[in-house]
Protein backbone atom coordinates (compact mmCIF):
# COMPACT_ATOMS: atom_id res chain seq x y z
CA UNK A 1 0.00 0.00 0.00
CA UNK A 2 1.47 3.29 -1.11
CA UNK A 3 0.91 6.22 1.18
CA UNK A 4 1.70 9.80 0.37
CA UNK A 5 3.73 11.79 2.82
CA UNK A 6 0.69 13.80 3.97
CA UNK A 7 -1.34 10.59 4.51
CA UNK A 8 1.52 9.10 6.50
CA UNK A 9 1.77 12.26 8.59
CA UNK A 10 -1.99 12.21 9.20
CA UNK A 11 -1.88 8.51 10.19
CA UNK A 12 1.04 9.20 12.52
CA UNK A 13 -0.77 12.11 14.16
CA UNK A 14 -4.00 10.13 14.60
CA UNK A 15 -2.13 7.20 16.16
CA UNK A 16 -0.18 9.50 18.49
CA UNK A 17 -3.40 11.28 19.54
CA UNK A 18 -5.11 7.92 20.15
CA UNK A 19 -2.19 6.67 22.24
CA UNK A 20 -1.98 9.92 24.19
CA UNK A 21 -5.72 10.00 24.90
CA UNK A 22 -5.64 6.29 25.87
CA UNK A 23 -2.81 6.98 28.32
CA UNK A 24 -4.61 10.07 29.64
CA UNK A 25 -7.83 8.10 30.20
CA UNK A 26 -5.91 5.27 31.88
CA UNK A 27 -3.99 7.63 34.17
CA UNK A 28 -7.09 9.66 35.05
CA UNK A 29 -9.03 6.44 35.71
CA UNK A 30 -6.29 5.16 37.99
CA UNK A 31 -6.09 8.60 39.66
CA UNK A 32 -9.84 8.55 40.23
CA UNK A 33 -9.65 4.97 41.57
CA UNK A 34 -6.77 6.00 43.83
CA UNK A 35 -8.65 9.08 45.02
CA UNK A 36 -11.76 6.99 45.68
CA UNK A 37 -9.70 4.42 47.57
CA UNK A 38 -7.97 7.01 49.74
CA UNK A 39 -11.30 8.78 50.32
CA UNK A 40 -12.96 5.50 51.31
CA UNK A 41 -10.04 4.34 53.48
CA UNK A 42 -11.03 6.42 56.50
CA UNK A 43 -14.70 5.62 56.15
CA UNK A 44 -14.48 1.84 55.69
CA UNK A 45 -13.76 0.90 59.31
CA UNK A 46 -16.47 3.12 60.86
CA UNK A 47 -18.95 1.90 58.24
CA UNK A 48 -18.29 -1.77 58.98
CA UNK A 49 -18.41 -1.21 62.76
CA UNK A 50 -21.62 0.85 62.41
CA UNK A 51 -23.23 -1.89 60.33
CA UNK A 52 -22.30 -4.47 62.98
CA UNK A 53 -23.70 -2.19 65.72
CA UNK A 54 -26.90 -1.70 63.71
CA UNK A 55 -27.29 -5.46 63.25
CA UNK A 56 -26.93 -6.01 67.02
CA UNK A 57 -29.29 -3.20 68.07
CA UNK A 58 -31.96 -3.67 65.41
CA UNK A 59 -33.97 -6.36 67.29
CA UNK A 60 -34.09 -4.12 70.38
CA UNK A 61 -35.48 -1.21 68.31
CA UNK A 62 -37.99 -3.51 66.59
CA UNK A 63 -39.14 -4.78 69.99
CA UNK A 64 -39.65 -1.20 71.19
CA UNK A 65 -41.61 -0.48 68.00
CA UNK A 66 -44.04 -3.22 69.02
CA UNK A 67 -45.02 -0.99 71.96
CA UNK A 68 -45.91 1.83 69.54
CA UNK A 69 -42.71 3.81 70.11
CA UNK A 70 -41.67 5.33 66.78
CA UNK A 71 -38.49 3.97 65.23
CA UNK A 72 -36.58 7.26 65.41
CA UNK A 73 -37.55 7.73 69.03
CA UNK A 74 -36.64 4.19 70.08
CA UNK A 75 -33.28 4.46 68.26
CA UNK A 76 -32.58 7.78 69.99
CA UNK A 77 -33.56 6.30 73.36
CA UNK A 78 -31.11 3.39 72.96
CA UNK A 79 -28.27 5.71 71.94
CA UNK A 80 -29.05 8.10 74.78
CA UNK A 81 -29.02 5.19 77.24
CA UNK A 82 -25.65 3.95 75.85
CA UNK A 83 -24.13 7.45 76.06
CA UNK A 84 -25.28 7.84 79.68
CA UNK A 85 -23.85 4.42 80.53
CA UNK A 86 -20.52 5.28 78.86
CA UNK A 87 -20.47 8.68 80.57
CA UNK A 88 -21.04 7.17 84.00
CA UNK A 89 -18.48 4.39 83.56
CA UNK A 90 -16.12 6.54 81.44
CA UNK A 91 -13.91 8.00 84.15
CA UNK A 92 -13.31 4.59 85.75
CA UNK A 93 -12.98 2.76 82.42
CA UNK A 94 -10.49 5.18 80.86
CA UNK A 95 -8.17 5.22 83.90
CA UNK A 96 -8.35 1.45 84.33
CA UNK A 97 -7.64 0.73 80.63
CA UNK A 98 -4.88 3.32 80.47
CA UNK A 99 -3.08 1.88 83.52
CA UNK A 100 -3.38 -1.63 82.16
CA UNK A 101 -2.13 -0.59 78.72
CA UNK A 102 0.92 1.29 80.11
CA UNK A 103 1.86 -1.66 82.29
CA UNK A 104 1.42 -4.07 79.35
CA UNK A 105 3.71 -1.93 77.17
CA UNK A 106 6.31 -2.02 79.98
CA UNK A 107 5.94 -5.77 80.42
CA UNK A 108 5.92 -6.61 76.72
CA UNK A 109 9.75 -6.99 76.31
CA UNK A 110 9.82 -9.41 79.27
CA UNK A 111 7.04 -11.56 77.77
CA UNK A 112 8.54 -11.52 74.28
CA UNK A 113 12.00 -12.50 75.56
CA UNK A 114 10.36 -15.30 77.60
CA UNK A 115 8.51 -16.55 74.52
CA UNK A 116 11.72 -16.37 72.46
CA UNK A 117 13.53 -18.41 75.13
CA UNK A 118 10.89 -21.17 74.95
CA UNK A 119 10.96 -21.15 71.14
CA UNK A 120 14.77 -21.34 71.16
CA UNK A 121 14.67 -24.43 73.38
CA UNK A 122 12.02 -26.03 71.17
CA UNK A 123 14.01 -25.16 68.05
CA UNK A 124 17.19 -26.76 69.44
CA UNK A 125 15.34 -29.96 70.28
CA UNK A 126 13.70 -30.29 66.85
CA UNK A 127 16.93 -29.39 65.05
CA UNK A 128 18.61 -32.27 66.94
CA UNK A 129 15.93 -34.64 65.65
CA UNK A 130 15.62 -33.22 62.13
CA UNK A 131 19.03 -31.81 61.09
CA UNK A 132 17.70 -30.65 57.69
CA UNK A 133 15.73 -27.93 59.54
CA UNK A 134 18.95 -26.28 60.73
CA UNK A 135 18.61 -23.58 58.08
CA UNK A 136 15.22 -22.51 59.37
CA UNK A 137 15.62 -19.96 62.19
CA UNK A 138 12.21 -19.57 63.83
CA UNK A 139 13.66 -17.81 66.89
CA UNK A 140 15.05 -14.99 64.77
CA UNK A 141 11.76 -14.61 62.94
CA UNK A 142 9.77 -14.39 66.18
CA UNK A 143 12.31 -11.93 67.61
CA UNK A 144 12.09 -9.58 64.62
CA UNK A 145 8.29 -9.88 64.61
CA UNK A 146 8.12 -9.10 68.36
CA UNK A 147 10.45 -6.09 67.93
CA UNK A 148 8.43 -4.65 65.07
CA UNK A 149 5.18 -5.27 66.97
CA UNK A 150 6.58 -3.55 70.07
CA UNK A 151 7.70 -0.49 68.09
CA UNK A 152 4.27 -0.46 66.43
CA UNK A 153 2.64 -0.52 69.88
CA UNK A 154 4.71 2.44 71.10
CA UNK A 155 4.11 4.51 67.94
CA UNK A 156 0.52 3.47 67.37
CA UNK A 157 -0.82 4.05 70.88
CA UNK A 158 -1.31 7.86 70.56
CA UNK A 159 -2.52 7.41 66.96
CA UNK A 160 -4.98 4.70 68.04
CA UNK A 161 -6.29 6.98 70.76
CA UNK A 162 -7.02 9.65 68.12
CA UNK A 163 -8.59 7.05 65.83
CA UNK A 164 -10.67 5.74 68.72
CA UNK A 165 -11.93 9.27 69.36
CA UNK A 166 -13.07 9.69 65.75
CA UNK A 167 -14.62 6.20 65.80
CA UNK A 168 -16.56 7.08 68.96
CA UNK A 169 -18.23 9.88 67.01
CA UNK A 170 -18.59 8.31 63.56
CA UNK A 171 -19.74 4.80 64.52
CA UNK A 172 -22.78 5.87 66.61
CA UNK A 173 -23.69 8.47 63.97
CA UNK A 174 -23.64 5.94 61.11
CA UNK A 175 -25.27 3.24 63.24
CA UNK A 176 -28.12 5.61 64.16
CA UNK A 177 -28.95 6.24 60.51
CA UNK A 178 -28.49 2.57 59.55
CA UNK A 179 -31.00 1.52 62.22
CA UNK A 180 -33.49 4.31 61.53
CA UNK A 181 -33.32 4.36 57.73
CA UNK A 182 -31.82 0.95 56.87
CA UNK A 183 -35.11 -0.44 55.54
CA UNK A 184 -35.73 2.73 53.52
CA UNK A 185 -32.22 2.70 52.04
CA UNK A 186 -32.75 -0.92 50.94
CA UNK A 187 -36.21 -0.09 49.62
CA UNK A 188 -34.95 2.85 47.55
CA UNK A 189 -32.12 0.77 46.11
CA UNK A 190 -34.51 -2.06 45.19
CA UNK A 191 -36.91 0.45 43.61
CA UNK A 192 -34.26 1.03 40.93
CA UNK A 193 -34.73 -2.54 39.63
CA UNK A 194 -36.69 -2.90 36.37
CA UNK A 195 -40.37 -3.89 36.80
CA UNK A 196 -39.78 -7.41 35.49
CA UNK A 197 -37.15 -8.23 38.15
CA UNK A 198 -38.46 -6.01 40.94
CA UNK A 199 -40.37 -8.72 42.82
CA UNK A 200 -37.47 -11.15 42.78
CA UNK A 201 -34.94 -8.47 43.78
CA UNK A 202 -37.20 -7.34 46.64
CA UNK A 203 -37.73 -10.86 47.95
CA UNK A 204 -34.06 -11.83 47.70
CA UNK A 205 -32.82 -8.62 49.31
CA UNK A 206 -35.10 -9.25 52.29
CA UNK A 207 -34.01 -12.89 52.69
CA UNK A 208 -30.31 -12.10 52.28
CA UNK A 209 -30.32 -9.12 54.65
CA UNK A 210 -32.28 -11.10 57.27
CA UNK A 211 -29.90 -14.07 57.16
CA UNK A 212 -26.79 -11.86 57.09
CA UNK A 213 -27.94 -9.76 60.04
CA UNK A 214 -28.75 -12.93 62.01
CA UNK A 215 -25.31 -14.34 61.20
CA UNK A 216 -23.39 -11.17 62.12
CA UNK A 217 -25.45 -10.73 65.29
CA UNK A 218 -24.85 -14.36 66.25
CA UNK A 219 -21.10 -14.04 65.70
CA UNK A 220 -20.83 -10.85 67.76
CA UNK A 221 -22.89 -12.28 70.64
CA UNK A 222 -20.83 -15.50 70.49
CA UNK A 223 -17.53 -13.55 70.59
CA UNK A 224 -18.76 -11.38 73.49
CA UNK A 225 -19.81 -14.43 75.55
CA UNK A 226 -16.49 -16.19 74.87
CA UNK A 227 -14.57 -13.01 75.79
CA UNK A 228 -16.58 -12.62 79.02
CA UNK A 229 -16.10 -16.31 79.89
CA UNK A 230 -12.31 -16.11 79.37
CA UNK A 231 -12.12 -12.88 81.40
CA UNK A 232 -14.14 -14.41 84.25
CA UNK A 233 -12.13 -17.66 84.19
CA UNK A 234 -8.79 -15.84 84.12
CA UNK A 235 -9.87 -13.53 86.96
CA UNK A 236 -10.00 -16.61 89.20
CA UNK A 237 -6.22 -17.02 88.76
CA UNK A 238 -3.34 -14.67 89.57
CA UNK A 239 -2.73 -13.87 85.90
CA UNK A 240 -2.42 -10.18 84.93
CA UNK A 241 -4.36 -8.48 82.12
CA UNK A 242 -7.35 -10.84 82.32
CA UNK A 243 -9.76 -8.28 80.68
CA UNK A 244 -7.32 -7.57 77.83
CA UNK A 245 -6.74 -11.29 77.25
CA UNK A 246 -10.52 -11.88 77.29
CA UNK A 247 -11.02 -9.04 74.81
CA UNK A 248 -8.32 -10.45 72.52
CA UNK A 249 -9.78 -13.98 72.73
CA UNK A 250 -13.26 -12.60 71.97
CA UNK A 251 -12.10 -10.62 68.91
CA UNK A 252 -10.01 -13.46 67.50
CA UNK A 253 -12.97 -15.81 68.05
CA UNK A 254 -14.67 -13.99 65.14
CA UNK A 255 -12.31 -15.90 62.84
CA UNK A 256 -13.28 -19.60 62.74
CA UNK A 257 -10.71 -22.41 63.13
CA UNK A 258 -7.56 -20.23 63.32
CA UNK A 259 -8.87 -17.37 65.48
CA UNK A 260 -9.34 -19.31 68.74
CA UNK A 261 -5.81 -20.78 68.41
CA UNK A 262 -4.29 -17.30 67.94
CA UNK A 263 -6.42 -16.02 70.83
CA UNK A 264 -4.83 -18.58 73.18
CA UNK A 265 -1.18 -17.66 72.48
CA UNK A 266 -0.90 -14.48 74.62
CA UNK A 267 -2.79 -16.12 77.49
CA UNK A 268 -0.53 -19.19 77.50
CA UNK A 269 2.62 -17.07 77.13
CA UNK A 270 1.79 -14.73 80.01
CA UNK A 271 0.65 -17.66 82.19
CA UNK A 272 3.84 -19.60 81.47
CA UNK A 273 6.15 -16.67 82.16
CA UNK A 274 4.36 -15.21 85.19
CA UNK A 275 2.90 -18.33 86.80
CA UNK A 276 5.10 -21.20 85.51
CA UNK A 277 3.97 -24.81 84.94
CA UNK A 278 1.60 -25.04 87.91
CA UNK A 279 -2.01 -25.82 88.68
CA UNK A 280 -3.00 -22.32 87.56
CA UNK A 281 -1.37 -22.81 84.14
CA UNK A 282 -3.28 -26.04 83.57
CA UNK A 283 -6.52 -24.37 84.72
CA UNK A 284 -5.89 -21.67 82.07
CA UNK A 285 -5.31 -24.35 79.41
CA UNK A 286 -8.55 -26.10 80.41
CA UNK A 287 -10.37 -22.75 80.41
CA UNK A 288 -9.21 -21.76 76.93
CA UNK A 289 -9.51 -25.15 75.25
CA UNK A 290 -12.14 -27.19 77.05
CA UNK A 291 -14.49 -24.72 78.73
CA UNK A 292 -14.48 -21.82 76.24
CA UNK A 293 -13.94 -23.59 72.94
CA UNK A 294 -15.27 -27.13 73.26
CA UNK A 295 -18.10 -26.88 75.79
CA UNK A 296 -19.31 -23.28 75.50
CA UNK A 297 -18.59 -22.48 71.85
CA UNK A 298 -19.00 -25.78 70.01
CA UNK A 299 -21.69 -27.44 72.14
CA UNK A 300 -23.79 -24.46 73.24
CA UNK A 301 -23.25 -21.20 71.35
CA UNK A 302 -22.65 -22.29 67.74
CA UNK A 303 -25.71 -24.61 67.55
CA UNK A 304 -27.94 -21.89 69.03
CA UNK A 305 -26.58 -18.74 67.41
CA UNK A 306 -24.95 -19.61 64.13
CA UNK A 307 -26.79 -20.89 61.10
CA UNK A 308 -25.30 -24.16 59.84
CA UNK A 309 -25.08 -23.12 56.24
CA UNK A 310 -23.04 -19.99 56.92
CA UNK A 311 -20.15 -22.32 57.81
CA UNK A 312 -17.18 -21.96 55.52
CA UNK A 313 -14.76 -24.66 54.43
CA UNK A 314 -11.43 -24.28 56.31
CA UNK A 315 -9.67 -23.65 52.99
CA UNK A 316 -12.00 -20.73 52.25
CA UNK A 317 -11.40 -19.37 55.75
CA UNK A 318 -7.64 -19.35 55.16
CA UNK A 319 -8.08 -17.71 51.74
CA UNK A 320 -10.38 -15.05 53.26
CA UNK A 321 -7.90 -14.32 56.06
CA UNK A 322 -4.93 -13.99 53.67
CA UNK A 323 -6.84 -11.85 51.16
CA UNK A 324 -8.44 -9.70 53.89
CA UNK A 325 -5.01 -9.22 55.48
CA UNK A 326 -3.49 -8.15 52.15
CA UNK A 327 -6.20 -5.54 51.59
CA UNK A 328 -6.89 -4.14 55.06
CA UNK A 329 -4.25 -5.55 57.43
CA UNK A 330 -5.31 -6.98 60.79
CA UNK A 331 -8.84 -5.59 60.45
CA UNK A 332 -9.13 -7.22 57.04
CA UNK A 333 -8.16 -10.56 58.59
CA UNK A 334 -11.00 -10.21 61.11
CA UNK A 335 -13.74 -8.99 58.78
CA UNK A 336 -12.70 -11.03 55.72
CA UNK A 337 -14.35 -14.20 57.03
CA UNK A 338 -17.74 -12.63 57.97
CA UNK A 339 -17.85 -10.85 54.58
CA UNK A 340 -17.18 -14.13 52.76
CA UNK A 341 -19.84 -15.83 54.92
CA UNK A 342 -22.33 -13.10 53.94
CA UNK A 343 -21.50 -13.78 50.27
CA UNK A 344 -22.10 -17.49 50.85
CA UNK A 345 -25.46 -16.73 52.50
CA UNK A 346 -26.45 -14.62 49.47
CA UNK A 347 -25.40 -17.42 47.10
CA UNK A 348 -27.34 -20.07 49.05
CA UNK A 349 -30.46 -17.89 49.31
CA UNK A 350 -30.46 -17.34 45.53
CA UNK A 351 -30.10 -21.10 44.96
CA UNK A 352 -32.91 -21.89 47.45
CA UNK A 353 -35.12 -19.29 45.81
CA UNK A 354 -34.59 -20.74 42.34
CA UNK A 355 -35.13 -24.28 43.59
CA UNK A 356 -38.32 -23.42 45.53
CA UNK A 357 -39.95 -22.03 42.42
CA UNK A 358 -38.65 -24.46 39.84
CA UNK A 359 -40.48 -27.46 41.39
CA UNK A 360 -44.13 -27.03 40.39
CA UNK A 361 -44.65 -26.99 36.66
CA UNK A 362 -47.49 -24.57 36.10
CA UNK A 363 -46.44 -23.72 32.59
CA UNK A 364 -48.64 -25.99 30.53
CA UNK A 365 -51.79 -27.45 32.00
CA UNK A 366 -54.21 -25.43 34.04
CA UNK A 367 -57.61 -26.51 35.31
CA UNK A 368 -60.26 -24.60 33.46
Amino acid sequence: MNMTRSQFLFFYLVMTAALASGLAIFSSASTIALALRSAAAGIFVPLILALATAFVLDPVVSRMEKYHIARSRSTLAIFFFSVVLLWLSGSWLVTYTQQMWISLVQDFPRYSSGLIKYIKEAQMSWQDQFPFLIQYDLTERVRSWAESFFSFLIVATPKSALKLGSLLILVPLFAFFFIRDGANIRRNLIALAPNRYFEMAHDLSYLISRQTSRFVRGRIIEASIIGACITAGLSLTDIRYAPLLGLFAGITNLIPYIGPLVGMIPGFTIALIDLGFGAQFWWIVILYVLIAQVILDNFILIPILISRYANLHPLLVIVAIIMGGKIYGVLGMIIGVPILSACKIAFIQIRHYRRAFSLPDTGTELPR
Partner: protein, 169 residues
Protein backbone atom coordinates in the same frame (compact mmCIF):
# COMPACT_ATOMS: atom_id res chain seq x y z
CA UNK B 1 -50.16 33.19 47.37
CA UNK B 2 -52.92 31.11 45.92
CA UNK B 3 -50.31 28.87 44.25
CA UNK B 4 -48.46 28.33 47.49
CA UNK B 5 -51.59 27.13 49.30
CA UNK B 6 -52.46 25.04 46.28
CA UNK B 7 -49.09 23.32 46.42
CA UNK B 8 -49.32 22.64 50.16
CA UNK B 9 -52.87 21.35 49.97
CA UNK B 10 -52.27 19.30 46.83
CA UNK B 11 -49.63 17.12 48.49
CA UNK B 12 -51.94 16.54 51.45
CA UNK B 13 -54.82 15.71 49.17
CA UNK B 14 -52.70 13.21 47.27
CA UNK B 15 -51.60 11.51 50.46
CA UNK B 16 -55.14 11.47 51.78
CA UNK B 17 -56.39 10.01 48.55
CA UNK B 18 -53.85 7.18 48.77
CA UNK B 19 -55.12 6.31 52.27
CA UNK B 20 -58.72 6.62 51.13
CA UNK B 21 -57.94 4.52 48.07
CA UNK B 22 -56.31 1.79 50.18
CA UNK B 23 -59.23 1.77 52.60
CA UNK B 24 -61.59 0.91 49.73
CA UNK B 25 -59.57 -2.26 48.97
CA UNK B 26 -61.16 -5.24 50.84
CA UNK B 27 -57.75 -6.55 52.02
CA UNK B 28 -57.10 -3.28 53.88
CA UNK B 29 -60.69 -2.60 54.97
CA UNK B 30 -59.98 -3.65 58.59
CA UNK B 31 -57.23 -1.03 58.98
CA UNK B 32 -57.85 2.30 60.70
CA UNK B 33 -56.35 5.61 59.56
CA UNK B 34 -53.18 5.28 61.65
CA UNK B 35 -52.56 1.78 60.32
CA UNK B 36 -53.02 3.04 56.78
CA UNK B 37 -50.42 5.76 57.38
CA UNK B 38 -47.99 2.99 58.42
CA UNK B 39 -48.95 0.76 55.48
CA UNK B 40 -48.25 3.62 53.08
CA UNK B 41 -44.57 3.39 53.99
CA UNK B 42 -44.53 -0.28 52.95
CA UNK B 43 -46.47 -0.09 49.69
CA UNK B 44 -44.37 0.02 46.52
CA UNK B 45 -45.71 2.24 43.74
CA UNK B 46 -44.69 1.01 40.27
CA UNK B 47 -45.55 2.45 36.88
CA UNK B 48 -45.90 0.29 33.75
CA UNK B 49 -46.01 1.02 30.02
CA UNK B 50 -48.80 -0.27 27.75
CA UNK B 51 -48.29 -3.97 26.97
CA UNK B 52 -45.63 -4.40 29.68
CA UNK B 53 -45.68 -7.77 31.40
CA UNK B 54 -46.13 -7.56 35.20
CA UNK B 55 -45.44 -11.25 35.76
CA UNK B 56 -45.53 -14.43 33.74
CA UNK B 57 -47.20 -17.73 34.53
CA UNK B 58 -44.70 -19.85 36.54
CA UNK B 59 -42.76 -16.84 37.86
CA UNK B 60 -41.95 -16.87 41.60
CA UNK B 61 -44.85 -15.04 43.22
CA UNK B 62 -44.21 -13.00 46.32
CA UNK B 63 -47.11 -10.62 46.71
CA UNK B 64 -50.18 -8.82 45.49
CA UNK B 65 -50.79 -5.80 43.28
CA UNK B 66 -53.58 -3.24 43.53
CA UNK B 67 -54.44 -1.29 40.38
CA UNK B 68 -54.51 2.43 41.07
CA UNK B 69 -54.88 3.52 37.45
CA UNK B 70 -55.12 1.76 34.10
CA UNK B 71 -56.30 -1.73 33.16
CA UNK B 72 -54.56 -5.08 33.53
CA UNK B 73 -55.31 -8.31 31.63
CA UNK B 74 -54.84 -11.67 33.32
CA UNK B 75 -54.15 -14.45 30.83
CA UNK B 76 -52.75 -17.96 30.50
CA UNK B 77 -50.74 -19.67 27.79
CA UNK B 78 -51.38 -23.24 26.67
CA UNK B 79 -48.83 -25.85 25.63
CA UNK B 80 -48.54 -24.24 22.18
CA UNK B 81 -47.92 -20.84 23.80
CA UNK B 82 -51.33 -19.62 22.65
CA UNK B 83 -52.62 -16.78 24.83
CA UNK B 84 -56.07 -16.99 26.38
CA UNK B 85 -57.36 -13.92 28.21
CA UNK B 86 -59.11 -14.67 31.51
CA UNK B 87 -60.20 -11.26 32.76
CA UNK B 88 -59.57 -7.55 32.55
CA UNK B 89 -59.14 -5.70 35.84
CA UNK B 90 -59.50 -1.97 36.46
CA UNK B 91 -58.72 0.63 39.13
CA UNK B 92 -59.43 -0.65 42.66
CA UNK B 93 -59.08 -4.31 41.62
CA UNK B 94 -56.26 -6.44 42.96
CA UNK B 95 -54.55 -9.65 41.92
CA UNK B 96 -51.80 -12.04 43.06
CA UNK B 97 -53.06 -12.13 46.66
CA UNK B 98 -52.74 -15.94 46.93
CA UNK B 99 -48.92 -15.69 46.99
CA UNK B 100 -48.67 -13.12 49.75
CA UNK B 101 -48.70 -15.55 52.66
CA UNK B 102 -46.87 -18.50 51.17
CA UNK B 103 -44.37 -18.82 48.30
CA UNK B 104 -45.98 -20.18 45.14
CA UNK B 105 -45.52 -19.85 41.41
CA UNK B 106 -47.87 -17.51 39.52
CA UNK B 107 -50.72 -19.47 37.92
CA UNK B 108 -51.55 -16.74 35.39
CA UNK B 109 -49.69 -14.01 33.54
CA UNK B 110 -50.55 -10.31 33.84
CA UNK B 111 -49.92 -7.47 31.43
CA UNK B 112 -50.90 -3.81 31.26
CA UNK B 113 -53.33 -2.62 28.61
CA UNK B 114 -52.31 1.02 28.95
CA UNK B 115 -50.11 3.16 31.20
CA UNK B 116 -50.73 1.69 34.66
CA UNK B 117 -49.89 2.61 38.21
CA UNK B 118 -49.84 -0.41 40.50
CA UNK B 119 -49.36 -0.60 44.26
CA UNK B 120 -47.47 -3.69 45.38
CA UNK B 121 -47.51 -5.30 48.80
CA UNK B 122 -45.12 -8.23 49.18
CA UNK B 123 -44.61 -11.14 51.54
CA UNK B 124 -41.35 -9.78 52.94
CA UNK B 125 -43.08 -6.48 53.80
CA UNK B 126 -45.84 -8.40 55.56
CA UNK B 127 -43.25 -10.39 57.55
CA UNK B 128 -41.50 -7.14 58.52
CA UNK B 129 -44.84 -5.70 59.72
CA UNK B 130 -45.58 -8.91 61.64
CA UNK B 131 -42.28 -8.46 63.53
CA UNK B 132 -42.69 -4.77 64.29
CA UNK B 133 -46.44 -4.14 64.37
CA UNK B 134 -48.16 -7.55 64.72
CA UNK B 135 -51.61 -6.01 65.21
CA UNK B 136 -51.45 -4.36 61.74
CA UNK B 137 -50.29 -7.62 60.14
CA UNK B 138 -53.21 -9.37 61.87
CA UNK B 139 -55.72 -6.92 60.39
CA UNK B 140 -54.25 -7.32 56.90
CA UNK B 141 -54.32 -11.11 57.21
CA UNK B 142 -57.94 -10.91 58.44
CA UNK B 143 -58.88 -8.91 55.34
CA UNK B 144 -56.94 -11.31 53.13
CA UNK B 145 -58.60 -14.37 54.70
CA UNK B 146 -62.10 -12.93 54.18
CA UNK B 147 -61.30 -12.12 50.53
CA UNK B 148 -59.89 -15.60 49.86
CA UNK B 149 -62.82 -17.29 51.71
CA UNK B 150 -65.31 -15.29 49.66
CA UNK B 151 -63.58 -16.28 46.44
CA UNK B 152 -63.48 -19.93 47.51
CA UNK B 153 -67.20 -19.86 48.33
CA UNK B 154 -67.95 -18.32 44.94
CA UNK B 155 -65.82 -20.93 43.20
CA UNK B 156 -67.67 -23.76 45.01
CA UNK B 157 -71.06 -22.27 44.08
CA UNK B 158 -69.90 -21.86 40.49
CA UNK B 159 -68.75 -25.50 40.40
CA UNK B 160 -72.13 -26.64 41.78
CA UNK B 161 -73.96 -24.58 39.20
CA UNK B 162 -71.86 -25.99 36.34
CA UNK B 163 -70.77 -29.50 37.42
CA UNK B 164 -67.94 -30.92 35.35
CA UNK B 165 -69.43 -33.73 33.26
CA UNK B 166 -67.69 -37.10 33.29
CA UNK B 167 -67.67 -37.08 29.50
CA UNK B 168 -65.38 -34.10 29.49
CA UNK B 169 -62.67 -36.28 31.04
Amino acid sequence: MHNLWDRILRSNKEEESLSAFLQRIPVFSHLNNRDLQYIKTLIHTRTYDPGEIIFEQGDPGSGMYVIRSGHVTLFTRDARNKREDLSILGPGDFFGETTIATPAARVTSASCNENCELLGLFRSDLFAVAERRPEIANRILLGLTSVISERLQNAILELRRHPVSEEAD
